[in-house]
């Protein structure tokens, strides 16, 4: 089983795709470690997106796939940031998948 190791904590279980098995294991440090695995250095620009995702999940219980993810960022952080190109630069590959992983959310279903 894959896991993350933090000092003075039991290992944190991950699934095969690197998502947290238990959402309650999430903390900012855990996010940093998950990012390091990618590898990605989390900047303030990453964090504001992660915060938006976590707030959205808190409110609605959904892990948004690509299109709603982009729209969500546009709604909460402005049109400049709610664009695929911007998010692709921050989270290269599949932004909705990567950002949800770092935010400790379940894997979005039907995410292309």
């Amino acid at each position: 089983m894959k896991s993350l190791k933090l000092p003075q904590r039991p290992p944190i279980a991950l699934d095969k795709d690197g998502y947290l098995r238990n959402m309650s294991d999430w903390s900012p440090e855990v996010a940093e470690l998950l990012a390091a695995e990618i590898p990605l250095n989390l900047s303030a620009a990453h964090w504001e997106v992660i915060d938006v995702l976590r707030a959205f999940y808190q409110a609605h219980g959904l892990s948004p796939a690509t299109r709603p993810f982009v729209k969500l960022v546009a709604r909460d952080l402005g049109a400049e940031k709610g664009r695929s190109i911007y998010l692709m630069k921050l989270f290269p590959g599949n932004p909705a998948l990567i950002a949800s992983k770092l935010a400790g959310l379940p894997r979005p279903s039907n995410c292309f």
Partner: protein, 130 residues
């Protein structure tokens, strides 16, 4: 015509899955194409290869398997419905570190997107369930 058949009922708990089977077989016999069979919700139980039926009762799962094999149908069990109900293929069993897999080999696990895509590509969608 191109038909997609959606099954959201388990075999034996109700007649619905059997009706879906009879409908599908009749459609094929009439020369129609089945674009996809999609098993959703409790319907994923139709793809459980470990189900055992009394000898004197109709084996619906075996019938599905033969139909799918004979006509080379695209038969998909919804992956999230299946995992919840303990229907796993070898890959998912490995992913979740489970000791066995039981998805009948004629079926594939995939997402709900496959149902939406099938709805877009088919002339008609017929649902059986409840």
């Amino acid at each position: 015509m191109k038909l997609t058949v959606l099954v959201h009922a388990a075999p034996y708990s109700s007649q619905a899955a059997y009706s879906a089977y009879r409908f599908s077989a009749s459609a094929l016999a009439a020369g129609h194409e089945i674009y996809r069979l999609f098993f959703y919700y409790d319907g994923v139980h139709n793809s459980n290869s470990l189900s055992i039926q009394a000898q004197d009762e109709f084996d619906l799962i075996a019938a599905w398997r033969t139909l799918i094999d004979t006509h080379q149908l695209d038969a998909i069990s919804c992956v999230s419905s299946a995992l919840k109900r303990g229907i796993l293929d070898a890959q998912e069993a490995a992913r979740y570190e489970k000791s066995a897999s039981n998805l009948a080999e004629e079926f594939t696990l995939s997402g709900l997107g496959q149902l939406v895509e099938a709805s877009m590509m088919s002339d008609r969608v017929v649902s059986f369930g409840g």
